[in-house]
Amino acid sequence: MASSSSKASDSSSQRPKRPDQGPSGKDAAGLVALHGKLAQLKRQVQSTRLAAIKERVEANRKALQVHTCALFDVAAAAEVASRGAEGGNALSRGAAEGHRRFVGWDSASGPGERELVHVQEENLVAGTLVLSSSGGSGASHRTVVQLVKLPVVDKIPPYTTWIFLDKNQRMADDQSVGRRRIYYDPIVNEALICSESDDDVPEPEEEKHVFTEGEDQLIWKATQDHGLSREVLNVLCQFVDATPSEIEERSEVLFEKYEKQSQSSYKTDLQLFLDKTMDVALDSFDNLFCRRCLVFDCRLHGCSQNLVFPSEKQPYGHELDENKRPCGDQCYLRRREVYQDTCNDDRNACTTYNMDSRSSSLKVSATILSESEDSNRDEDNIKSTSIVETSRSKITNSEYADKSVTPPPGDASETENVSPDMPLRTLGRRKISKHASKSNDHSPDKRQKIYSSPFPFAMSVLNKQSVPEIGETCPDSIESAVDQLPSLDDPNKKISTKDMCAGSTTNTTENTLRDNNNNLFISNKEHSISHWSALERDLYLKGIEIFGKNSCLIARNLLSGLKTCMEVASYMYNNGAAMAKRPLSGKSILGDFAEAEQGYMEQDLVARTRICRRKGRARKLKYTWKSAGHPTVRKRIGDGKQWYTQYNPCGCQQMCGKDCACVENGTCCEKYCGCSKSCKNRFRGCHCAKSQCRSRQCPCFAASRECDPDVCRNCWVSCGDGSLGEPLARGDGYQCGNMKLLLKQQQRILLGKSDVAGWGAFIKNPVNRNDYLGEYTGELISHREADKRGKIYDRANSSFLFDLNEQYVLDAYRKGDKLKFANHSSNPNCYAKVMLVAGDHRVGIYAKDRIEASEELFYDYRYGPDQAPAWARRPEGSKKDEASVSHHRAHKVAR
């Protein structure tokens, strides 16, 4: 590849490039020739194109003909069938009867200048259709046909096909009505163009010319023959609809393309997944996963949300514990014990026997548990060796590994059973700890062998260690065994890798034993660190962040299959000096932390700049509700506080100050913000217990918010009745009454023909005052979009716009639920209220009074006085006052 690219650049430098030369006589002549050549080439391209079209049309015609002929056969068959059935050629027979037929004009009588005039007359009373023909040769005929009446069918009120939404959705980018939408008014017979009223729409970016093959040919030809001078470009411009700079750019592309083709050197960039950094690997996760809804591709909050990192880290659930049980036989704890034990091996040597037997018997009594633990260990081993490259260096060090790396598939069970042929010094050593639990049928000589090995104490320590803790770690091991079940399917692989591992472990242990104690970690480091890939390193850093310096958890949860606990630990404990030698692959722990820290800082910075950018854009557009001042388009609004502000999580790492996006927007910080829980701008939820959060005494209710189990003290969600062993509801069956939207505890709504106009929403079961009925869902659109759509909707006198907050309007026209059909009334039985539910504004419809079953639902759309249509205009008098009163009260509530 390197050679080809160098060649390409070489030859490109050889190409005649004379941009600064004036046109000499010779060049001018050349250009004329070029012009001719290009014209010819163009004609050639065009004729090729026409020929290609002809070919394709012809091919299509043939295919179609085959098909229509087949269809004709079907029709002919149908004819035969209907004739056979004597069902009758009803239509033809009618014609043949003659009385309906008129023969007025002989088409052969002349060139047909004198047409017949047939006039029909409907006689609705008689139910007949009279057809009279006159003219032609003077003959006049009348044909009478009985009119068949099609009985009236009730038509349904008009609607546009809509899609049910159980949750608001943000408008997809391609759903805008666009710059120019033509609305056709059938009554006035007028086409209305709903284009942008404002001129601040950014002009569509200059469309880049897409070069066709034919144009490529022209450019290629011209540049090959005449170089890439300005004159040539000018000539090309006459043939190709593109700017000279575009053509120049294209010619470079073409040059590279053809050059490459001639060299026929294709780069195979097979990239290993592991070569990617975690940022790259997690890109889609970061972009597509919604951290508020916990779903991918969230339709409500959209993609590419700002990543907000909480400043308060969860306390590490598992602190590094000196008395910890090893997580597996690749656990770093084991090595530490080995290290300790080398000091007093004599004493251990004798105790191990007893300990081991004890462990066996204990394990027998808890077969399942230990088995699960085994699988756990196996799993760890798989992890450690699935990257062959990583382990290969170790394997080659091990004298036994060679044999165990490639066991024939059939040997799987054999290996499992520890056949005596196998090199048992390494394998058996492991099997002891494993199979002792399953059965005690191990031959004594096998043990003998093991204990005659140079490092018996290591193993015995292993078992000893696991015995006392086996009881308390049961749940854990079961859990992990369950987690790892899927990977148990492949016994072959498992065993081979396991054996491999055992080999390598032995080897390292051997090494460490042979080595000085001080060298223990350093020697091991040589194996593992050099093979830490970028992804593994990133995962490791993430692990440090999540679990603290707990190599067991990091290895098990994040690097399973990639690194063993021991490798993680040695990586963790490496000091900076050794790492500094490999600036690319390794960093000291401190360095890692520093880097990680820095990384988050940067990310935070990025998030902030994004926010800033967005703000900037918003300011530029100046198209919020207030600045727009659009009195023309009708939008429904909710009761209560008049204007809400869209909440966007802030990414503040420290206390929220003046710079905080939330503070600036005037919203409270929510649980999705980065700031700490003690942030002064946070909404702290309520402490209500018995009031069920149904009155204004509840701070949540008063602020038009639903309670949040994550925030409020006593509002929580219980599930089930306790029969499945889940904790019972707290507080004497008290259930918060202010989480209905969150929990979707809605009433059954029916859709029917309204008694008032068009469609209507009806309630199935009776409800009480202030009961929650359901949500008004729809597409979240900007105010600008709402104005565009609203113009059309208002024309059609059917608008489903609902003002949600300063940033969004809900449009239920195409997507929504049945409550969108609830009609307006100035004396309604329901009211709409915008509630903040988990950071999102949502519209709940509530009963204003008690509503009986199957009553139609109405609420006040609260259209502004100047945009309200006649049917929504407030009757003069008392009603108006009431509205203003409720307004006023609402404001008070907000405070």
Partner: protein
């Protein structure tokens, strides 16, 4: 969903037909029938049964009428149906067949109600209520003539089974049309495919392959039609922006598509879809058939059984007959008559192309017959 535009530039030119008639086939006006004063919006021959190849129907106002095209150049009126709702205005008709071959006539219009008429018994067979607004076109699946598809102002396209009266599928939603759907057509050979177009200036190609089990199910459904699990098809296979204004007629021509807007031309283009990744693909405009003075919407064209002749009327009452499958396109004839002046909304070409009918805004039907047609 990405909208696809046609390729432009050198090597992407379309073959444009010349407006000089080849006079390969000569036609002469031989008859005129005035139904009334109300505009006739649709006319169509029955190609579903060999018996009825000479039978055609018209709709206009609240009336549906069937005629026979007599060989001597005359019409014979066969049946007339009248909707008791005087305000109904039928916009479209399509012939269909019941499973036993009974000829059915399907008509619909401003009320959004589909009327299925049994022409053998001269009785209303079924009425489909469901569309939320007026219906602009109905087409029949020739391979399964009891399947019909309707395009509506309610921005949806619906697939119905006239045998069981079931609405099987609704093509609308997230990727659906954003304005009235004006025209729809079944692919002639690929039974899963349909194309629709409308006031949102797009042509959408849909596939019901994944939903075909529901279509099968609709034939054996015995419960109430309203209980059928009607499915929404929300995403088309391809969205093509070939025109810059209302697209009011689209027809498959084999694997190619003929469509027209208000730009005085019909465009033949090839949609290249990708089965694996819906929404992707490309569009190649192959041919253009100029039609002068054809700049108002709701003017539809039609072809003969074998798709050899295409006839389209214009705003001034002229009919252009194109040899649609020749390349470059050849204008067969321009059919005119001094008395035929009002806009022609729809044409009908007989099975072999020897008779061309046109229905016009002033409520009359015009007939042109081929001179010296070998069959006549």
């Amino acid at each position: 969903m990405a909208k696809l535009g046609p390729g432009q530039g050198l090597g992407c030119e379309a073959a444009v037909g010349l407006l000089a008639p080849s006079r390969k086939r000569e036609y002469k006006a031989c008859n005129k029938l005035t139904e009334g004063k109300r505009p006739l919006y649709a006319i169509g021959f029955n190609f579903l049964d060999f018996h009825y190849y000479e039978v055609f129907a018209t709709v206009g106002g609240n009336r549906v009428t069937t005629y026979s095209c007599l060989k001597d150049g005359n019409f014979a009126i066969l049946q007339a149906y009248i909707d008791e709702d005087k305000d109904e205005s039928f916009y479209t008709l399509s012939w269909a067949c019941d499973l036993d071959g009974t000829p059915l006539l399907v008509a619909a219009g401003s009320n959004g109600i589909i009327r299925v008429i049994n022409c053998a018994t001269e009785k209303l067979l079924k009425t489909f209520v469901g569309h939320g607004d007026s219906i602009n076109e109905i087409r029949t699946q020739a391979l399964k003539p009891s399947l019909i598809i309707s395009a509506s102002k309610d921005e949806s396209v619906r697939l119905w089974n006239v045998h069981t009266g079931i609405c099987i599928l609704i093509f609308a939603g997230a990727g659906g049309h954003r304005n009235e759907v004006l025209s729809v057509d079944f692919h002639p050979s690929d039974i899963y495919r349909i194309a629709s177009c409308g006031m949102d200036n797009t042509v959408k190609i849909w596939s019901m392959k994944e939903f075909w089990p529901y279509v099968e199910q609709s034939f054996t459904w015995t419960d109430l039609p309203s209980k059928f699990p009607t499915k929404y098809v929300q995403f088309p296979v391809l969205v093509a922006v070939v025109h810059s204004n209302y697209v009011d007629c689209t027809r498959w021509l084999g694997d190619f598509i003929l469509s027209k807007s208000v730009d005085n031309e019909i465009v033949l283009w090839e949609p290249k879809t990708k089965e694996q990744s819906p929404g992707e693909g490309s569009i190649d405009i192959l041919q253009k058939y100029p039609v002068p003075e054809c700049d108002i919407w709701f003017i539809k064209f039609s072809c003969d059984f074998h798709f050899n002749q295409l006839a389209i009327g214009n705003r001034e009452g002229k009919v252009f007959v194109w040899e649609v499958q020749s390349s470059p396109p050849v204008l067969t004839a321009r059919l005119t008559n001094p008395q035929c002046k009002s806009a022609i909304r729809q044409t009908a070409v007989s099975f072999d192309g020897s008779t061309i009918l046109a229905c016009s805004e002033d409520g009359s039907i015009w007939r042109w017959d081929e001179v010296d047609h070998p069959k006549a």
